[in-house]
């Protein structure tokens, strides 16, 4: 894509891109370069001296059972968040696409959690599930379920999954609704005339036609679970109990800021960067395909 008509100036374009580039270099490239640099260094406890240790930090990480556990935790967490978030949103969007009466009311109620900060979402759900005073805890106790996410790792995981999914449903819902509304009605009508019921139409027409949107949302939700849920976790479990909810991003923060392990934290940052680059590449490859679709 190129413009046929362009303006000429030897200096103006540079002035126009300068602010964006200055911020990009100072706050993105410089720190990212430093992260790579630190990841090859070992610092003493006071940060006074450091020495080049090559890949030692990385080798150490992959021998560290806590780090490997954090990978597993992140995998479980992101699969749970992306999977249940997408399934619930698809169900709600399909229903919202069917109904006529009250559609705007449903839509309005379903989209507002997008506006809630991750940390605030965490606080709300932590309050509902608070071990001694939470209203949901009280109801669960009535069913004989002993709920205490502060000491039970699985319950802590469930709590952050619920809070994260609750916040993300609106986003998925809007994309699915847009996707559903762009499916040609003539296709569905033709199938109905041929005798296909609603369930049959859903599985053989709607689901295949929605697959690009679903795939896009899968990538977005995994990125969301990997990075943007930091606020949910920091406001509720803080990675605990016993690291049961310590996802990779939280571990970078914990090791770097709270334990001041610069080298180890930077090596983790570099690994995360590689993951982000892979996810972005997948996303862009897919978008090229979607354009042709």
């Amino acid at each position: 894509m190129e413009k046929r008509v362009v303006f000429r100036s030897a200096w103006l374009p540079y002035v126009l891109v300068a602010p964006q580039l200055a911020i990009t270099v100072v706050f993105f490239f410089w720190p990212a370069g430093q992260a790579v640099w630190y990841s090859f260094q070992l610092q003493d406890a006071f940060g006074l001296s450091s020495q080049f240790v090559g890949l030692e930090n990385f080798k150490f990480l992959f021998r560290d059972p806590h780090y490997l556990q954090s990978f597993k935790t992140t995998a479980v967490f992101s699969v749970a968040v992306a999977g249940s978030g997408i399934a619930i949103s698809l169900l709600l969007a399909t229903m919202a696409d069917r109904v006529i009466r009250g559609a705007l009311v449903y839509k309005t109620i379903l989209i507002w959690p997008y506006a809630v900060a991750a940390a605030v979402a965490g606080v709300l759900w932590a309050f509902l599930f608070a071990p001694s005073i939470g209203i949901v805890t009280y109801v669960l106790k009535g069913f004989g379920i002993d709920w205490n996410w502060i000491i039970n790792g699985n319950q802590a995981m469930l709590l952050i999954v619920i809070a994260s999914v609750w916040k993300q449903i609106s986003y998925n819902f809007l994309f699915f609704l847009a996707g559903l509304q762009s499916i040609p009605k003539s296709l569905l009508e033709a199938a109905a005339i041929d005798g296909a019921g609603p369930a049959r139409r859903f599985w053989t027409i709607v689901i295949p036609l929605l697959s690009p949107v679903t795939f896009f949302l899968l990538v977005v939700n995994i990125v969301y679970a990997f990075f943007e849920t930091f606020g949910v976790i920091d406001a509720t479990t803080q990675g605990g109990p016993a690291q049961a909810t310590q996802i990779l991003v939280y571990k970078v923060y914990h090791d770097g800021v709270k334990s001041a392990d610069i080298g180890g934290s930077s090596a983790q940052s570099v690994i995360l960067m590689i993951i982000v680059i892979a996810l972005t590449a997948i996303q862009f490859r897919f978008i090229e395909r979607k354009v042709q679709y």
């Binding site: 602010p19 964006q20 069917r98 506006a115 509902l128």
Partner: protein
Amino acid sequence: MVEKRPLLDVVSHAILIIGALLIAFPLYVTFVASTLSFEEIMSVPMPLLPGDRFLENYTQVLTAGTTTGSHAAVLDMLFNSTVMALAVPLGKITISILSSFAIVYFRFPLRNFFFWMIFVTLMLPVEVRIIPTFKVMADLGLLNTYAGLTLPLIASATATFLFRQFFMTIPDELAEAARMDGAGPMRFFWDVVVPLSKTTMAALFVIQFIYGWNQYLWPLLITSEESMYTVVIGIKRMIVGGDAANEWNLVMATAMLAMLPPALVVLLMQKWFVKGLVETEK
């Protein structure tokens, strides 16, 4: 509607109502909790109808925070959040529209290189470069400043893409006519490009307002003084220990105040919000 299926309509409404109730339930409990006294909220189960402490609780947090946790006044935090929520979108729109104008309407050495530099920032979210970015901010003396809170967040590859994509749809005839009439590039920018981009700007503004307001990790890293807390950070600082030790009624009043502005933006500007969301993520 393809055909009439009364039973399926009932099921659809039932599922939507259950979904809406589950989504809205935390909001309702938060509101109720924010109107209760400390004693009421500590009783198990807590009342599920609003109490009479609405004014007391909100006045207390707005002016003096909590008594056991952070004492910072929420009013100041709301001000800081507003600064972030306005400065981030305005800064982002400004630098992105300028750089994409240069990239689309000029041919100059390093043009593609600059474009790729901006593109790569997509792959470097704050979360992956926590420690080094903090060091850079400290070296530049930007800790606990508004510039530190906002500047690093205004670089944006998505906004630049969005403007670039939009500029490609502006007919070449407009630029040609402007050039023939002797208008320079900046004249063309102000009189043609900016007015045409208003829709794109509005959509971006709504999305970025929410993004700026809801920032968490970034202000957590670079603000240590109470006077610089944003409201989202402030809530976190009010939670001091075990769940019975917190003044949940005050925490929940603060949570309501933290949710209200972005929620209003989403509800009142729904059209721009949906447009911004669907387009910026393409």
